[in-house]
C-alpha cells in the first residue's frame, strides 16, 4: 500500500520544506518514500507542486491525476488547481489563506465555496495560528502537525525548535478535533 500526497502552494511558502519534513518522518518510521518536486521551485511567486509517496516499497515518483489520498494546499487558489489530483475519498487539507494572483483579483469566499464541493475538505486556519505564534513562516509547521496526525506519523518533535513545535502541536490538536 502506497499513500500518495500532493502538496501545493506558492513559491516562497516552504512547500518543499513541508514535503521534506514528511519524508524524514516516513524514513524514520521505516518506510520507503519518494519526493518529487514536480513544478516551479526555481521561481518566486509561481505555483509550486511537490508529490510525496510513502509505503513499504514506492515505485512511481509522481502522483497521477485522480490518485492522491491527500492533497495539502498551503494556499487556497493553488488548492483549486490541485483539485484534479483528488481521489473521491481523499482528504483535502487547505490552509485558509489566499495569495492573490497579480492583476486578477479573486473573491476568497468564492474560492472556499468551490473547494467545499469536495466532501473531504478540511479548511485549516494555519496562517491565522501562525500569525498568533508570531510569524507567517510557522504556517507549515501547523500544517505539518495536522497532516502528521492524519498519517499517524511521529518522529518530528526532536528537530523542531520551540516555536515550530508549538505550531506543530496546534496543528495536531486541530486534526484530533475531527
Amino acid at each position: 500500500m502506497v499513500t500518495s500526497i500532493v502538496i501545493v502552494g506558492v513559491g516562497g511558502q516552504g512547500v518543499m520544506t513541508l514535503a521534506r519534513w514528511l519524508g524524514r518522518a516516513a524514513v524514520a518510521a521505516g518506510y520507503d518514500v519518494k519526493i518529487a518536486e514536480v513544478h516551479g521551485l526555481s521561481q518566486r511567486g509561481g505555483s509550486v507542486e511537490v508529490h510525496v509517496r510513502i509505503g513499504e516499497r514506492v515505485y512511481a515518483p509522481v502522483v497521477s491525476e485522480g490518485d492522491a489520498d491527500y492533497v495539502v494546499a498551503m494556499e487556497a487558489i493553488e488548492a483549486l488547481r490541485a483539485f484534479r489530483y483528488l481521489k473521491e475519498e481523499a482528504l483535502f487539507v487547505v490552509n485558509k489563506r489566499i495569495i492573490q494572483v497579480p492583476g486578477k483579483y479573486v473573491d476568497p469566499e468564492q474560492v472556499y465555496r468551490a473547494l467545499a464541493v469536495h466532501k473531504g475538505l478540511r479548511l485549516v486556519p494555519a496562517f491565522e495560528l501562525a500569525l498568533k505564534i508570531g510569524d507567517p513562516i510557522y504556517e507549515n509547521s501547523v500544517l505539518l502537525g495536522y497532516v502528521a496526525k492524519l498519517l499517524r506519523l511521529d518522529g518530528f518533535v526532536d528537530w523542531l525548535d520551540e516555536k515550530n513545535l508549538r505550531a506543530f502541536e496546534e496543528g495536531r490538536r486541530l486534526a484530533s478535533a475531527l
Binding site: P61, I99, G103, Y105
Partner: protein, 595 residues
C-alpha cells in the same frame, strides 16, 4: 545509514565513492545539484565552467591525463559540448570520464525535449540510465569504473524524475581523488585524418565489446506470458502499472540503454511492450534486432511529455488489449487564474525592461531574447524570440541584416553572455551590424540558484573595450537615468553602429540573502490609496509581482512580497507610492549594490 537524497546528489556521491578528482559543469535545471554537491569536497578540483563545452573539455583533458573526471549539464548543454564529446570517443580516455546529462521531458524549464541517448548512438558512447536515486548512485560509481577499464567515455543519462526525486539512499564514503599524469601518445590523441581513421576502427571494435558489457546492466524479473522491456524511470512506472492492472509479466530492466545488449534476443518472446522516458531509443534498437514492439513508435505511449502512471496504465492496457480506461480527474467549479512565472519583486531586470520599453516607445523594435530569468520579459511583451543560449545576438544579427526597417534590441543575461556571446561580439564588430546589445548583468546565474558568474572577474565593459564596441553602463534601479541612456543607445544604433548597454545590479535574491545574514530588513513600499489614480503604470508597465490591481483599479502592495527596490515609487506619476521607512532607502540600495 539511509539519507534522503536527490537523484543529483546521489550521482555526486556515486562519483565521489569512485574517486572522482576533477569535475566541471554549467548550471541548468534539472542538473545543477550534481556540481553543487561536489563543490563541498575541497580535496577535488570542481568548477562551474563558462559553458558546457569547456566543462567537458576540462573533464576530458583530466581523464586523458589519467584522472577520474566528471562533467555535468542539462540535456541541451550536450549540444554545446557535442564537439569534444564526439572526439572523446575516438581518442578514448586513460582515467575515467563520466558525462552526466539531465534530460527534461515535458520541458519544465527547457526550450526542447531532446533525448540525449541519441547522442550515445551517434557518437558510440554507451549510455547508462538509472531509474531512481539509489541506482543513480550505483551507476555513477560503476560508470566511472567502466569508463576507466574500457578506456572509453560513458554517458549517464538522468531525467527530471530521477534528478529531482528525493529518496532514501545508502551511500558509501568518498574514495580519495584519483588524479593522474599525462603521457604522450600522438597517434592516439592527435586526430588528424590518418590517425582518426585508425581510431574509427577501434571505436567500432569497442562498440561490439560494449554490446556484451551492456548485459551486465540488464536484469529479468518476474514471470508471465507478457514481456515488458523498460528503462530509466519507465521501469518504475511499468512495475506499478502492471501491479495496478493485475497483470503478471516478465520485466526486462535495461540499465544500459545504448548500446542495447545482444542478450535481449535470448529473453524476449516474439512481441514486447517497451516503456521508456523520452524518445523510442530502446524501442528503435529492438526493432533493428528484429523484435516486434509496442511502445512509442505506434503511439501506445505518448511521444511527448513525461511518462506518468496514468499514461503507462492506459498504454499497457491498450497494448495488452485489456480495455481499462481510467476515470477523468475531478474538475473544480471555479477555474483558478494562472499564476505565470514573474520576475521577482525588485528584480533588476524589471527596471531594465521598463527603461527599454520607454526608450523604444514609438519605434519599430524587434526584441531578440535569450535563455534565462530575463526570458520573463515576455510578460511585458519584450521577447519576440528566445530559442537557445546566445540566440539574442546570434539571431538578432541575422534579423538586423534582413529587416532594415526595424531596430534589434538583443537582451542577454551575464551568464549567457559569457557562455555563448563572445565570438558573436567579434562578428558584431567586424560586420558592423547595428543593434542594441543589452547585457543584463546581475552578477549571478540566478535562474539555477545563484551560481557565480564570471562578470566580476571579467566585466563586460572590458570586453567591449577590447573589441571596440561602444558601450554604456547603467544601474537599472536608477530609472530616470536608465531611460535616458537607453534612448541615446537606440539613437546611436539607428545611425548604423552596434551599441552595448550594460545594465548592472546584483540579483535581488542574493542581496536579500546577504541582508538577512547581517540582520538588515529592506524597507517596504506602500500605496497612498487616495493619491492613486488607477493609471496602472506600476502593475501593467513595470509589472512588479508584489503589486496587485484591486477591483477598483487602484494599486496595492503586498508587504510580504515587496523587496524595497523603489522602482515603483520612481515610476508612479502621481507620487502615490512611498517607503514605510524612508531612512532605510539609501542604505538598502547601497548594501544591495555590493551583494
Amino acid at each position: 545509514m539511509k539519507h534522503l537524497l536527490l537523484g543529483n546528489e546521489a550521482i555526486a556521491y556515486g562519483a565521489l565513492s569512485a574517486g572522482v578528482a576533477v569535475a566541471a559543469g554549467y548550471p541548468g535545471t534539472p542538473s545543477s545539484e550534481i556540481i553543487e554537491t561536489l563543490l563541498e569536497f575541497k580535496d577535488r578540483k570542481v568548477y562551474w565552467a563558462s559553458n558546457e563545452k569547456t566543462a567537458v573539455e576540462l573533464a576530458y583533458g583530466a581523464a586523458l591525463a589519467g584522472a577520474r573526471a566528471l562533467a555535468a549539464m542539462k540535456h541541451v548543454g550536450l549540444n554545446v559540448a557535442a564537439d569534444p564529446f564526439h572526439s572523446a570517443a575516438y581518442t578514448g580516455v586513460v582515467g575515467g570520464l563520466l558525462i552526466v546529462t539531465a534530460d527534461d521531458p515535458h520541458m519544465w524549464s527547457s526550450q526542447n525535449e531532446q533525448d540525449t541517448r541519441w547522442y550515445g548512438l551517434q557518437s558510440y558512447i554507451p549510455v547508462l540510465e538509472p531509474s531512481e536515486p539509489q541506482e543513480a548512485f550505483k551507476m555513477a560509481k560503476d560508470g566511472l569504473a567502466l569508463s576507466e577499464s574500457l578506456e572509453h567515455p560513458v554517458l549517464l543519462r538522468s531525467t527530471t524524475r530521477v534528478s529531482h526525486v528525493r529518496a532514501p539512499v545508502v551511500v558509501e564514503p568518498p574514495a580519495p581523488p584519483k588524479f593522474g599524469k599525462f603521457s604522450r601518445d600522438v597517434e592516439r590523441y592527435v586526430l588528424v585524418p590518418q590517425n582518426a581513421r585508425r581510431r574509427r576502427a577501434d571505436v567500432l571494435r569497442k562498440w561490439e565489446l560494449l554490446k556484451d558489457f551492456s548485459a551486465r546492466f540488464m536484469s529479468v524479473e518476474g514471470e508471465g506470458d507478457v514481456t515488458v522491456v523498460a528503462s530509466g524511470v519507465g521501469y518504475l512506472y511499468a512495475v506499478e502499472a502492471l501491479e495496478r492492472l493485475g497483470v503478471k509479466a516478465r520485466i526486462v530492466k535495461i540499465g544500459m540503454s545504448v548500446p542495447l545488449s545482444k542478450k535481449v534476443v535470448d529473453v524476449v518472446t516474439d512481441e514486447v511492450v517497451v516503456v521508456e522516458e523520452g524518445d523510442p531509443v530502446v524501442e528503435t534498437q529492438l526493432r533493428v534486432m528484429g523484435i516486434k514492439t509496442k511502445g512509442k513508435i505506434d503511439g501506445f505511449f505518448p511521444q511527448s511529455g513525461e511518462l506518468s502512471l496514468r499514461a503507462v496504465v492506459e498504454g499497457l492496457s491498450k497494448a495488452l488489449g485489456l480495455g481499462v480506461k481510467l476515470a477523468d480527474p475531478a474538475k473544480p467549479t471555479l477555474q483558478p487564474p494562472p499564476r505565470p512565472p514573474y520576475l521577482c519583486p525588485g528584480c533588476p531586470h524589471m527596471g531594465t525592461f521598463y527603461a527599454l520599453k520607454l526608450a523604444g516607445a514609438g519605434q519599430k523594435v524587434v526584441w531578440s531574447g535569450d535563455i534565462g530569468c530575463y526570458t520573463l520579459g515576455i510578460n511585458t511583451g519584450q521577447q519576440d524570440l528566445a530559442t537557445h543560449m546566445g540566440s539574442s545576438i546570434g539571431l538578432g544579427m541575422g534579423i538586423a541584416l534582413s529587416d532594415r526597417e526595424k531596430l534589434v534590441v538583443a537582451t542577454i543575461g551575464d551568464s549567457t553572455f559569457y557562455h555563448a556571446a563572445l565570438p558573436q561580439l567579434i562578428d558584431l564588430k567586424t560586420k558592423k551590424i547595428p543593434l542594441v546589445l543589452v547585457v543584463m548583468d546581475n552578477e549571478y546565474t540566478a535562474m539555477t540558484g545563484g551560481q557565480p558568474s564570471p562578470s566580476r572577474a571579467v566585466p563586460a565593459e572590458r570586453l567591449m573595450e577590447a573589441i571596440g564596441i561602444k558601450h554604456y553602463v547603467i544601474d537599472p534601479v536608477d530609472v530616470k537615468r536608465s531611460v535616458e541612456v537607453a534612448k541615446r543607445a537606440i539613437a546611436e544604433a539607428k545611425s548604423g553602429e552596434p551599441v552595448a548597454l550594460i545594465s548592472r545590479r546584483p540579483c535581488v535574491l542574493e542581496a536579500l540573502r546577504a541582508a538577512r545574514r547581517s540582520g538588515f530588513k529592506p524597507p517596504k513600499y506602500y500605496v497612498v490609496s487616495d493619491r492613486c489614480r488607477s493609471c496602472g503604470i506600476c502593475y501593467n508597465l513595470l509589472k512588479c509581482y508584489a503589486i496587485t490591481k484591486l477591483p477598483d483599479g487602484k494599486a496595492w502592495i503586498d508587504p510580504s512580497l515587496c523587496n524595497g527596490c523603489s522602482m515603483c515609487a520612481q515610476v508612479c506619476p502621481y507620487d502615490a507610492i512611498k517607503p514605510a521607512e524612508p531612512d532605510k532607502v539609501s542604505k538598502w540600495l547601497e548594501l544591495w549594490s555590493q551583494a
